[in-house]
Symmetry: C2
Subunit: 545 residues, 2 copies
């Protein structure tokens, strides 16, 4: 493997691709093609339940609590090592096209006198990647540079010479009467986007990637190609707008028992977006647009795979396709993400390894829980390296997925769990809760082969039996018959918490016995009574005992 193509969608549910869901009312042939050529991790969980926290886990290979960027716009510590930092010593530069949601750590920059406009600051602001084109889409659209992104410039140069083509053209629908429906409203999903498909954000992002691959020629690269779709605004160009008929939509995964149940869910359900998504008529229009955006993404991915093939790079490029999180889409009477059901934290994860060693696993699916922090060490292993200890490589918390690709040494036992975290203190629902210390609004889930257990700091726990209740509709969190299960899973979270690698500055060798021996051997023996005792130990070649 020489090149790494790290493709990320935004807000793409695990079950919204054909290879994962036979009942999907539209086709995703190009994503399915990837699954046929590689391994699909059917139970991949993001570590964070929102864009920023999830992405920082992907980029650092570390849990949210470890890297500390718990939500959007929270900076990663300036000195956290990222994928790009781990690949650089192995001769692979990492480039960015699209979204990262990362920001520069302002205290770190100020404390260290870092020029915030300099090259180092930009690389850290981009999570270590070299920027080809950074484009955060909707996350940038309401900022002071609204209308000033590279995509806005692209639309202006294609005849839309207005102040904010992102909003007015790409993220507004055209009603039958010719008026515009803003993508900031959900009703826009009822109408086709004003922008034609070939000028859409997804098309443009793909074009940038194709240009990048052509320019690079035979040089090795890692490209993080990070689409901002199918994230809202749920507005999509023709022909994708008419692709799915409302009568073919899946039924929302929800039950009357979920109303008035767990207090955190109750607060979530009270948010306006949840209320609107709980209205089937409203949900239907949005859901069709969401599926259309995925079909559009699939189409353009086909162009990408084709170009990779034409360039002769299919044979030496590892492809990872994934998403930062899902979308409730009305499941559990909720909208958006930020909570811990599969609708929000279970994501597509497909890995294509072109090496002959991976031939035996092509087209297979892995059904044990895996984690998105596993992607980073997978890439490092794929290019033949080991995480560099001097970069904090020993502090990566993910585990390489390569054993699943080669069929050798798969995970067993206690490794088969996934932990995800959320902090719902950042969302509107906070306003419905009493004034509380921030950390209390946190929750974390541990998912095993059978169970999902959600531990809350403020409320009681939740428990779902995924074997018998895969849609997570029956909360066993207070059921007396499951106390032992809950206790085991509490222990699992306790073990997880104590094993977090919170001190990435500790050189790995400091934990190794040879290192301790070396310290003793360099002549710093303590605790000896006199020179004779030291000499005896030296003669025995053991200054440690």
């Amino acid at each position: 493997v020489r090149n790494l193509l790290f493709v990320m969608a935004d807000q793409l549910r695990w079950d919204a691709i054909g290879c994962a869901n036979g009942d999907l009312p539209f086709a995703t042939p190009n994503i399915d093609d990837l699954a046929a050529r590689g391994v699909r991790f059917d139970r991949a969980y993001t570590q964070g339940a929102t864009c920023g926290s999830s992405r920082m886990s992907f980029y650092t290979g570390r849990y949210v609590t470890s890297h500390g960027a718990r939500y959007n716009e929270i900076p990663l510590n300036l000195t956290e090592a990222t994928l790009a930092d781990h690949l650089r010593p192995l001769g692979v530069e990492s480039y960015l096209i699209g979204k990262t949601h990362s920001v520069l750590d302002p205290f770190g920059a100020a404390a260290l006198g870092l020029d915030p406009t300099g090259a180092t600051a930009q690389i850290r602001a981009d999570a270590g990647f070299k920027r080809v084109v950074r484009y955060d889409g909707v996350a940038a659209a309401n900022s002071p540079d609204s209308g000033q992104t590279a995509y806005d410039d692209f639309l202006r140069s294609n005849g839309y010479d207005i102040a904010n083509p992102w909003h007015d053209i790409a993220n507004s629908g055209r009603r039958n009467d010719g008026s515009s429906a803003s993508g900031w409203t959900m009703e826009s999903g009822l109408w086709p986007a004003i922008v034609p498909d070939e000028l859409s954000e997804t098309a443009w992002t793909t074009d940038l990637a194709i240009d990048f691959m052509r320019d690079k020629g035979a040089a090795p690269w890692c490209l993080h190609l990070s689409y901002i779709k199918p994230h809202w605004p749920y507005v999509v160009s023709e022909p994708y707008h008419q692709l799915v008929d409302q009568s073919d939509l899946p039924v929302a995964k929800r039950s009357a028992h979920e109303v008035g149940g767990h207090p955190a869910m109750t607060a979530f359900q009270a948010m306006r977006i949840s209320r609107n998504f709980s209205d089937d008529a409203k949900r239907a229009g949005v859901h069709c647009a969401y599926f259309g955006l995925i079909a559009q993404l699939d189409h353009h991915l086909g162009r990408l795979w084709g170009e990779l093939e034409r360039l002769g790079r299919s044979n030496d490029t590892m492809i990872v396709f994934t998403s930062d999180h899902g979308d409730y889409m009305g499941d559990h009477w909720m909208g958006e993400k930020d909570y811990l059901h599969d609708s929000a934290i279970r994501v597509p994860l497909i890995v294509v390894d072109p090496s002959a060693g991976a031939d035996s696993t092509r087209g297979s699916a892995v059904n044990v829980p895996t984690e998105c922090i596993d992607v980073l060490p997978t890439f490092v292993e794929a290019v033949g390296g080991e995480p560099d200890a001097s970069l904090g490589g020993g502090w990566i918390e993910g585990q390489s997925l390569v054993p699943f690709l080669t069929g050798v040494g798969k995970r067993t036992g206690s490794d088969q769990v996934a932990v995800s975290e959320t902090d719902y203190g950042f969302r509107e629902m906070r306003d419905a809760l009493p004034e509380l210390e921030a950390p209390l609004l946190r929750a974390r889930s541990i998912t095993t082969e059978r169970w999902k257990y959600i531990e809350h700091d403020l409320f009681g726990p939740q428990l779902f039996d995924l074997d018998n209740d895969p849609d997570e509709l029956i909360d066993l969190g207070q059921h007396s018959g499951y106390a032992a299960v809950r206790s085991d899973l509490t222990d699992g979270l306790h073990q997880w918490r104590n094993s977090l690698k919170l001190d990435p500055r500790t050189p790995a060798h400091r934990f190794a016995r040879p290192g301790l021996g070396a310290v003793a051997a360099r002549g710093f023996p303590i605790g000896f009574w006199d020179e004779a005792e030291i000499q005896t130990a030296k003669d025995a070649r053991d200054l440690l005992r």
Copy 2:
């Protein structure tokens, strides 16, 4: 309060000063004088059980798990805000004379292109302090610059013109036959140091501080005056060497029941230094030298208080006197520190506030558990400031001690606990344990008014009833009658763990409701169905619901 004098001893037990221990076989009049002028925190606990981890907690106001510098020579993350960073915006520069045990974060420096010889790098390497003279004593003595410290130069300029005067003169004893006993051996404690008192490390460090205060005149300052004594080598100059008679020494706090008990203690007790300290004949000589070093420190502190008075600074200088940790000195059949008995983690802590508001508490002692991370916010409050949110001020985990000084608003209830941490994977005992993942060798204690509970990742817990067993000789960790107590204290640690401020990059306002309102108000409403719904919410002046 205008000036801050932050005096730290190294390895000074809580009970080795006269004001804390009426049975002490020697006097510490100058430390006692401080206690009479201020408040003595009788149950102050360090957060780390070894120099580096403890000091980084003092300097950041954060628990060891939060700052991540779990042991000596582990760098504080380059972007952790320290005392100096918190005081700087308040107009107070912080200076260093003596030891910090801090090192520069090499990954951070490399990642950010920081010149490792530049001013910023030196300040970060010195934990944010401006260096007057940095002197890590024994921690530097065996490094490549052995014999090249400022103190070595001082001794050479005073007639000891040899390669390593630190070792040969200041840290070697002179036997009766005229030969030298190296301070690297414990037997050196039997003999007087070759160096005369007035040229000792303690005298020299004090002289530097006196010069500093004279030079500063009326300008405000914070001085971290950090002695490296009474830390081993246990060698002290006359007249302190003969000060205490072996027959007057305290009996070691140990019991036959402690042998072969808890496996972590068993491994500790098997270390050579523990074996030697468990031999009463050997312990006695060392202990006399240890006491002598404390008496010597007390004498020179008297010179310091006198100079402060002469300079007219006693009336506007807050003085904190403390230590980074204790010394087992044979208690529990152990030597050194690194574990969680009071002998190791309970330290002297005296705070003198010259303000009139503190007059009512002078000479008093506080008996509830307090923490060394409380010193930083105490200093910030004393100079009239509040922690600066932009510097991560909201992420300080200590609480100001000022209420104890003014007698207003003392801590109550659940605040009256102290948490300390150790990671014994760094010590020789690791060699006696099976090869294990590093985090498993960690333990943490929670100390309440009555109990101390020690939770281990690898072994079962320990529990001591401090009311009935203040010497911590009876381990109730497995006693069936105390399951409820252990369960409560486990919950306390769970609560502590979940409240750790591990994400210091989150701006404090992100957690506040007004901040959320502001986000909504800036026009980024999501979840609305159409413009009419938005208008209705705007009319109701509530975009959140």
